[in-house]
Symmetry: C2
Subunit: 602 residues, 2 copies
């Protein structure tokens, strides 16, 4: 195996201490701070959030390091430092070139704000880079060559696993590292079922609302709360410029659905779409640094009629566009017929496919039906075709699925697609709770991740009703952190319960501030506590508002432990525990009569 020797990435401290335009800090709590885990031998260091803890009655508690997606911090107009630039350059397999460039049509029909943001930009104006002729620059390609890249070492450190596991999973297609060579600002992360479950946040303006500044804010906000990747689903104005600002400021991979922008270029007329317009849009986005793209190449002409009898027809925007196009032209989906050309493009930039499920069910009534599974068969075929080009692939999944049918989705996908990472939207397990679909979908998401889904696309409370605002983004991200983490625990992922156990210990010992700090949202936890007991001493008090000072189960329990923990009580404890064990060993049972007969006689 060949390992590159990368230069040490630029320290992030300068940027982290630079003033931010946001009114929020990147840290979540006063006892949180950025720290690094080092691989000194290879000059790699990975950011973590370090949570310092109070003592337990004089005995020190080790700080807890948690996975950190927020990045080193940036000034929005300047963007992030290009962490991976030396790694990419040192491989000597890429070149800059006279690229397509930014064109007037790229920003859509009414690019009203394009001028100002372009003038404000003070950061790097990257020259696009692509693979040299005849070279393939994907992480899958390197992995299959037996090459360990700095990107692989970075994710191995992040995941606290052996780098060979990373390489092997990439080579087999069971994991991807989405990181376009034109997005060197990103901190590598891995999506695959052998690793921590990841979550994606969607943002994006539409024709109706939103601005560039808001979208960059949402990115930074989503990453602050723990989003692992972000999809920019903009459909309105200034698509290109908005995306530029997002990518240059993003420490996490960025995904898009290029058909949305292509549609804007043909004035919203789906029938006017062509392969050429689409291809041009894809290249534009490859040059900008988009890390993965949703491609609805599995919506085949012959599948469309399978949706006619559904309760909710087609609910995927991209899928509907392609279905409409197929029918209008009586031709096969051009994304399918040109799929190998797409693979060749993606291989030049290391863009990953996110194979879109355009025929996913939009209601539990339509779950696991012929249309959905027919498309999945085609996505499996396309996975193989992409792999033949060493292009990384993940496969998108539903949607709306009742709980008892969820597991079948991931098991079927894993079997048909030979373990390619599954990336699902929820799924929602009931349709009766608009306004609460972050919850209906988190239930399904935990179930599907438990059985192997590698990344979960979040759902916010506004799903089906409107566009998420900042609070909705936060709620969606935290809800999905819960789902992903609960699945990690259920999968027995190594070390998954460290944070749970530290928090539970803090809870038991009434270390309120540590309990807040170890939670996913310390601010909210502290605010909820303070609503009932705002006085400062209450945070160190050995009781809480649920029971009041004289009546506290935790305290009684602590007293019991203290009793048994005293020197003189140890002997008595040992005796009682022995007695308990004997009782349990003897079966610990009493005579149980048949409950259905004879019980009335007393």
């Amino acid at each position: 195996m060949t390992a590159f020797t990368p230069e040490t990435p630029a320290p992030a401290t300068t940027s982290a201490s630079a003033p931010l335009h946001d009114e929020f800090t990147l840290e979540q709590y006063p006892t949180h701070s950025p720290a690094w885990v080092d691989d000194e031998e290879h000059g790699i260091r990975v950011p973590v959030t370090r949570i310092e803890l109070e003592d337990s009655n004089g005995r020190a508690n080790d700080p807890v390091d948690v996975y950190r997606t927020v990045g080193p911090g940036s000034i929005p107009e300047e963007g992030l430092p290009a962490l991976r630039f030396p790694w990419i350059e040192n491989r000597l397999d890429t070149e800059t070139y006279d690229a397509r460039g930014h064109r007037i049509a790229d920003d859509g029909r009414a690019a009203v704000r394009r001028g100002a943001p372009s003038q404000q930009w003070k950061g790097r104006k990257p020259v696009p880079r692509r693979a040299k002729s005849g070279r393939t620059v994907t992480q899958m390609h390197y992995a299959r060559q037996g090459i360990i890249t700095p990107e692989m070492r970075f994710v191995a450190l992040r995941e606290q696993c052996d780098v060979e596991l990373v390489r092997a999973e990439l080579a087999a297609g069971r994991a991807i590292i989405p990181n376009n060579i034109n997005h060197p600002e990103s901190e590598p992360m891995i999506i695959g079922k052998a690793f921590l479950v990841k979550i994606n946040a969607n943002i994006g303006n539409s024709a109706v609302t939103s601005s560039i500044a808001e979208e960059v804010q949402k990115l930074r906000w989503a990453a602050k709360w723990g989003a692992d990747t972000l999809m920019d689903l903009s459909t309105g104005n200034d698509i290109h410029t908005t995306r530029e600002w997002i990518i240059r400021n993003s420490p996490i991979p960025i995904g898009t659905v290029p058909i949305y922008q292509a549609l804007e270029k043909v004035d919203g007329d789906a029938n006017a779409l062509t392969w050429e317009v689409y291809r041009d849009t894809v290249i534009e986005q490859c040059e900008q640094g988009v890390d993965y793209m949703t491609v609805h190449a599995g919506v085949l002409l012959r599948y469309v009629p399978l949706t006619a009898d559904r309760v909710t027809g087609m609910v995927s925007r991209g899928g509907s566009i392609m279905a409409g196009w197929c029918l209008a032209h009586h031709e096969e989906n051009f994304l399918y017929t040109h799929f190998d050309e797409l693979c060749e493009i993606f291989a030049r930039y290391d863009v990953a496919f996110s194979l879109g499920d355009g025929l996913r069910p939009g209601s539990i009534a339509d779950a696991n039906d012929a249309a959905q599974f027919a498309e999945l068969d085609t996505l499996a075929e396309l996975t193989e075709r992409a792999w033949a080009h060493d292009v990384q692939v993940m496969v998108e999944g539903p949607g709306h699925i009742p709980l008892h049918l969820v597991r079948e989705n991931v098991e079927r996908q894993q079997e048909l697609c030979h373990g390619a990472p599954f990336y699902t939207l929820g799924p929602l397990v009931t349709d009766i709770a608009p306004g609460y679909d972050h919850i209906t979908s988190a239930i399904g998401a935990t179930e599907i991740a438990r059985y192997g889904t590698a990344m979960l696309c979040y759902v916010t409370p506004k799903e089906h009703l409107g566009l998420p605002d900042r609070d909705d983004v936060k709620t969606g991200v935290i809800t999905y952190k819960i789902a992903a983490h609960a699945a990690d625990i259920a999968k027995g992922h190594p070390g998954a319960t460290v944070r749970d156990d530290a928090l539970s210990k803090a809870r038991f010992e009434f270390r309120w501030r540590d309990q807040f700090a170890l939670g996913l949202d310390p601010e909210t936890a502290e605010a909820f506590h303070d609503e009932t007991l705002p006085a400062e001493p209450a945070k160190t008090a050995h009781f809480c508002s649920m029971c009041g000072p004289k009546f506290c189960s935790m305290r009684i329990s602590q007293d019991i432990r203290d009793t048994y923990g005293s020197a003189e009580a140890q002997e008595a404890l040992a005796g009682m525990q022995q007695k308990s064990r004997e009782f349990l060993a003897s079966g610990g049972e009493v005579y149980l009569p048949d409950p259905t007969v004879g019980l009335k006689a007393d």
Copy 2:
């Protein structure tokens, strides 16, 4: 089988139209209204919420009737009509008697507000009733005699099932109808895995906060959003009087934990508790009309040391009190040693046991451990002992359990306790999200209900942090309605998807108001929609803010359906569908090479 012929219950229209002291109405949306499902033969009628729907392009949609727990409405100072009074009286097996009465100590150490509420009370002052000597008046007893009671008919109508199923499940102990003969205001409901999954809301003042008015408000609020039962966990002042107001106003069963009030009577000193104080408290509550009581009789002296090495010791308040008492006195738990006397008392009023899990885990680290399962063995023994008295029983369960260990809990309980209804608190599947534990627990709750838990105790966002306010109660109830409903669907409960399907159809047809009305929280859904598109016409517009007017997957999909739905398109459709079927029947596959070898060659 003998069937009672009850009088027709008093119509509820008078009360429903009476002015309420609350600022909210009992209905959730303008298109919701109270309606009744009738069993004319037996003079029983069951309230439902009727949701009227708009037409689908001129074709009428049937209204959707949904389960209604909110009751007929009452004036708080007057209470509800005594719906079940004639049913109880007609059985001729009960008598009124010179009861214990309300004593000064019943309201706790500082009964500051007791005077005023007692003077304000204008409603019924019920004379307590109990079984005549030698009679048993539990629904289990009647069921085992083959008697169909009006209560059974009422729940059969509510559940839309055969009344014989109700009787058989009650007789076998696999379901309970908690309805104390001294709470005739209640509308019977059933808890058992053959029926719809139910949810409980906890409220209660503590020494730190809250008032009687707030607690009654919370009851009405919880029932409005769908709570099936309510536990009054008050530990502070005016316990007796608060409970009186709650019960007289409650259309749903009320549960308590009598040890809390008993502890107040001995000035908060757990060591001073005695069986006599406890028994007296239980009788006081039986006479008031409490429908089920949590009894921590499974916390045995020999189990206490099993908790000493836990991360979070004991977290059940009642369990800790009893454990502390056992250790202080070096005696066995008096709830265990006097359990048969408790059964005799409960049999006289038809109070159901909720066998408390005092040793439940308080963190995922402690899940499914020796202490928890040792106590469960004893709860199984106690279930049998209660059944020997024809007393109804449900068994409480955890708590904090990682997702992969959840199913074992309900399956073990169901086996050991011969199908006695399981009633669990969540469980939470991770400990890292204080402030969001309604979500962490809803994930576990859906899983455990799917495998047979009959009732879920809600968890609010304030869990572990403070006392829930009205918003928290609403959030907790709706979150748990989602969990219960998702489990009903996963269990294949008959008719469970009717509401989902109606809502999905409304969504697909852009009937926005119907989509809101069919949701669990129409107000919030409408408000979320209006944040982005507040204009009135938007609610009937064929697009939404996610996509904008020209770019809507639902519309494209509708267009596709319209195309295939036209007369001239039917033939083409049939041909295409046939082609699709042929493709699928032929295996629908392409050649898939082994993904782990040879894919680099292209």
